[in-house]
Amino acid sequence: MTDCGRSHFAKLVVTIVLTVVAWGLFENPANGQQITGQVSMEGRLFTQDALRDNLYPTNVSIAIEPEFYQELNDGRQSLTVVPFLRWDEHDSERTHWDVRELDWEYFARDWELRAGVRKVFWGVTESNHLVDVINQTDLVEDLDSEAKLGQPMVNLAIIQPWGTLDLYALMGFRQRRFFGAGGRPGIPFPFNSDGAKIDGGNFGWAMRWAYTAGPMDIGVSQFHGTARDPRFFIGDQPIVIADFIRSPFPSIDTQDPMIVPGYEVIDQLGVDAQLTMNGWLLKFEGINRWGQGSRFAAMTGGLEYTLGNLRSSGLDLGLLVEYSYDDRGIEALTPLEDDVFLGGRLAFNDVQTTEVLAGTVLDRTSKASFLFVEASRRLGERSTLDVRIRSFVGVPPDDVFLYGIRNDDYLQASWTLYF
C-alpha cells in the first residue's frame, strides 16, 4: 500500500475510474448507497530561489478521493471505501495512492465494532497533535501533518455511562511518507526511506477512555507498537542532533553516509483534556513515551476564545494561543520542542462560507518562525477555492528541521470540485 511504480499507478487510475463508473451505474440511494467524493487541482508558486540546482519554481498537482458508502442491515452496519490518489508534477514521492478507508462498522446499543482500514483522531489542541498516534502521517500532502494514511485495525468501542472505552488491535505498520529528493519542500540530506529500519513487526495495540463531565472533556490513552515518527540513523547509530549540526552539512549528492529512518517499538501514555467555559476553550495534551532512546515527556497546552458576531456584523474572530514543550530539547523529533503558536481565525459566516486562518509558530530556542495563512471560500454550489501561504523566517543553521527548507516558502491555490 505504500509504493508503486508508474505502470502500477496507471493501472490503479484505470481501476478507480472503472469502479467509480460501475458504482455510479448501480448507485441506489434508497438502498442506503451513496457515492460522493472530490477532485482537487493544486498549483504552487515558490517565492524564493531553491537551495539546490534543478529545483522548480512552480508545481502542479491533482488529487482524487471518491467515497463509496453502503448501509446494511437496516442501518445496523455500514461499509465505507475511500481510495485516494495524487499525481504530482515534480515530486515522485508526492505522486502516491492510499486506501484512506475500507471500513466495516457494526452498531449495537452499548458497543460498536469497526474493522478494516480506518482513520482515528485523538486530542484537542490545534498546533500539535501529541496524543494522536494511531495513524501514520502522510507528510507529502502538507507540512501541517494533518493528512493521515489509513491504518488497518479492529476497534471495539464500549459505550457506558462511565465513558467510552475504545480498544484497538492494530494490524500492519505503515512507514511515514517523506518528500522525495527532487521535491520542494524536500529533505536536504542524503536520505533513503527505502532503507528504513523497522522494529516490532506488524502488530500493535491501543486503548483510550473518553469521558465528558459537564464542561470538561477528558481522554486517557495508551499505545504500544511501532512508532509512527521515526528517529534517524546513520548505520546503526541514531543521529545526535547536537553533534550533527556542528559537523559540516552533508551534501545531498553524496551517497555516504546515508541517513535512514528507524521505527522503534514504543509505549506511549497520553492525556488530553478540554474545559469549555464562557466562550473560552482551555486545552491540554501531554504524553510520556518510552522505547525510543531515553524516556521523555512532552506537552501542548493553550487557549481558544471566539469573539462571536463581532459588532453584529456576523463575523466570528477566534483567537488561539498554544505552547508546546518536549523535554528532549534539541534532540526532539519534532520542530515543536519549545514553541509558541499564535493564531487567528476569521469566519465571515457568509453564503460562500469565507474563512481565513492565519498564524505563526515561534521557536523560542532557535528563534526561527513559521508563518501561515489558510483562506477558503465556496465557489457556486459544488466547489471551493483554498489559498495557502507557508513561509519560514529567520531560520538559523542549528534548526535542523527547518534549515534545509528555509527557501521553500510557497503560495498555494487549490480548487476542489465535489461530486
Binding site: 466562550g279 471566539t306 458576531n309
Partner: protein, 281 residues
Amino acid sequence: MSLNTTLLSVDGHPVENGRCLSRGVISVALVIAMTLAASTWAFADQRGDEIAREADRRDTGWNDMIAELEMVLRNRQGEESTRALRSRLLEVDADGDKLMIIFDRPRDVRGTAFLTYTHRSGPDDQWLFLPALKRVKRISSNNKSGPFMGSEFAYEDLASQEIEKYTYEYRRDEILDGRPTFVVERVPVDSSSGYTKHVAWYDQEEYRLAKIEFYDRKDELLKTLIYRSYQQYLEQYWRPDEMYMENHQTGKSTVLRWSEYEFQTGLTARDFDQSSLRRVR
C-alpha cells in the same frame, strides 16, 4: 392565588375585613381590581409565562422527532443559494432537548454534524464533527448570535426553545391573518444572545407560534420570522412546513422548508452521543 394577592394589594384590605361586604360589592371590587391588575407589569408577566407554559405543555410527549430541511438563502439582488440538512431531536426529562443537525449540501460540508445538549439553565453543550479529519470538537455555545450557514437564521433561532431561556410579558390580543393571537414579549435570559427581545404571536386556539419579530442589541427591529402551513402530527403536535425569515436591515431573506417529519421513531440517548455523531450521515 396570585390574583388574590393582587386583589389584596390593590384595595389594601385584608380578606377578614371583606366579610361585611355584600356579594355585589365584592364582585364589583373584583372586576375593578382585575382591570387594574391586568394593567400592572406583575400581572402581565404572569400571563405571558402562562402562555409560554401552555404552548410548551401542548408540545410535550413526542419523545423524538426527525425531519429534513431545505434552506433557500436569498440576497438583496434576489440571487439564491440552497442548503440541505437533516435534524433529529430527542426530548429529555427535566432538561432541555438533544438536537443533532447533519449537513448534506453544499457538498463541501457534507457529513459535517452538530450535536447540542440544550440545558434549561446554564450554557448548552455543543460538539461539531469534522469528517475530513474524523475529529469531534467540543465548541463553545456562546457564539449563538451569528448567522447559521450564511442564512438569516442565527444558531439561537434554530436551537430548542426551552421556556427557561426567556422571561415573558403578555402584551395584547391581536387578530393575525384572521386568527386571534396573544402577543408576548420574550427577553432572552442569556446575555450572549444577539437580541434584546422577541415579540412573538401565539395562536390562541392551538398555542403555536405564528410570527416572531427580533430586536437587535440596539433595540431596533432586525428580523421577522413567519411560520407557514402548519400540519398536525400524531393528532397533537403542530409543525410548520415553512419558516420565512426576513432581515429588515440587509434586505436578505431565508426560507426554511421542512419535510419528512416523523415522530416517536424510537431514537434514544445513544443516537445523540459522540459515537453516533461520528458515523451519522
